[in-house]
Amino acid sequence: MTLSIQNLEKTYFNPYADAHVTVIRDLSLTVERGEFVSVVGPSGCGKTTMLNMIAGFIPRSGGDILLNGKSVSGPGADRGVVFQSFALFPWKTVLDNVGFGLRMKGVPKSERDRIAREYLTLVGLAEAANRYPNELSGGMQQRVGVIRALANEPDVLLMDEPFASVDAQTRMTLQEELTRIWQERRPTVIFITHDVPEAVFLATRVVVLSKGRVLDDIAVDLPQPRVWDRLVHDDRFKTISARVLQQVRLA
């Protein structure tokens, strides 16, 4: 599995300014199997636009996005997405939300329920299987959002600021859970965030975007599993975070 972004470009027409605005220009990035790549950058640097193009939600203006050598066009089950808004189906139970991708693949009900329950157990939500999303807290909803994408076994998991709308304590717990799940299952992840410590904590690699280009690409060789209690005192974590932060502020 390789995701290869080549000279990606995105230009919008802004009717109010009566001008074309370029949000992504000549962006190239390669992500290999099993990598966890955090993408950081200031607001308006084009990180979400890039993710939306990888997901196939919006068309690109130039360049190419290749997944296993095949050019991406439109959304597909090979690219799972975790949304900041959770985007759970309010009219489906938690179990049916998690099993939705499998249902689309034609997996029989008993089998997809079994798999969905397995994933729910993975995030400690086995009890919530028959509840509706609005009956869960934000943190629980996003756990469902993450495993709904994972249960479909995509080639790459695209996460768009997934923990930005939960409270600070829950966020840290979710981050720790995500590193644990990543260690167990080794999915390939592209994680968009503007939170520098979060980016470093989770990733094997941090990419800094600026004005639609890759400004820096920093390897994070911190040992796994990662736990906040330990990492806050870790000198390497501090050094890497400082470097990323410096780049983001330059951007």
Binding site: P75, G76, F83, S85, A87, F89, P90, M104, P133
Partner: protein
């Protein structure tokens, strides 16, 4: 003060146990005023019957079987028209809401025909279909259709953009997105449309029955006018209000509320 509070709390407790009391109590002053006016003989009894007269007429007409028959006729007509309206309206609304070209083509036409009120169709319909079920069904379908179509479009527009996106990236085809995301997402609004539509349809039906009528509650009232029976006219009016209250408060409103509430969707 204390007594008033005590009475009020007893009333609240009673209505908790029997909600029908909360429905009936507000009508008591109206009923009392009516009885007093009739009893005082402010108007001649032939113009202004008393509540007792209306109840008597209700019993007689029910006993003769006229009232049940007419009621059934009216309800069947409404149900038939509503069913056709739903079957046409929901897919049409979904098409307009999800397809830009369809939206451009049909939206102006929709607004144009919405402006021609249901009753305004009657003259031409009577020539086309005559005094029969065809005319009545057309008018009801016409009345029910617009609220359903417009609310379906509104419902689809309120679905957050991320939901169809999530479904697509989980492998849904366009058709599955429609079935699993768009339709349930718009359902609370569709039910609101249905509720409004049936309300308009009920009124239109009575109007049509008055003009076209061979049977039905509207016909009953107009026929009573010919015979000069104010009692039966008022009975018809009370039946209209009561029946609609039952349909709306006991069936449509809970249905609309239930879908939205269980899913945590708030309808406007």
């Amino acid at each position: 003060m204390n007594v008033a509070l005590h009475v009020w709390s007893t009333y609240v407790r009673l209505t908790e146990r029997w909600p029908v009391i909360a429905t009936l109590v507000p009508f008591l002053p109206i009923l009392a005023l009516w009885e007093i006016l009739a009893w005082a003989g402010v108007f001649p009894p032939a113009f202004f019957p008393s509540p007792g007269d209306v109840v008597k007429s209700f019993v007689t007409l029910t006993y003769k079987g006229i009232l049940p028959d007419y009621l059934q006729d009216s309800l069947v007509r409404l149900a038939l028209g509503a069913a056709i309206g739903i079957v046409l309206g929901i897919p049409f609304g979904l098409l307009i809401a999800t397809n830009k070209i369809a939206h451009r083509v049909f939206w102006p036409i929709l607004l144009f025909f919405q402006a021609i009120g249901d009753i305004a169709w009657l003259p031409i319909l009577l020539i086309w279909f005559g005094f029969g079920l065809g005319t009545m069904t057309f008018v009801i379908v016409y009345t029910v259709l617009f609220p359903i179509v417009l609310n379906t479009v509104l419902g689809v527009e309120t679905i957050p953009r991320d939901l169809p996106r999530a479904a697509r990236s989980l492998g849904s085809s366009s058709l599955s997105v429609l079935w699993h995301v768009i339709l349930p997402g718009a359902l609370p609004n569709i039910l609101t449309g249905l509720r409004n539509g049936l309300g308009y349809g009920w009124r239109a039906l009575i109007a049509v029955e008055i003009i076209v009528g061979t049977s039905g509650i509207g016909f009953l009232m107009f026929d009573a006018r010919r015979a000069g029976s104010t009692t039966e006219i008022i009975l018809g009016m009370i039946i209209l209000g009561t029946l609609w209250y039952i349909v709306d408060a006991w069936i449509l409103a809970p249905l609309e509320k239930a879908t939205g509430e269980r899913w945590g969707i708030v309808t406007s």
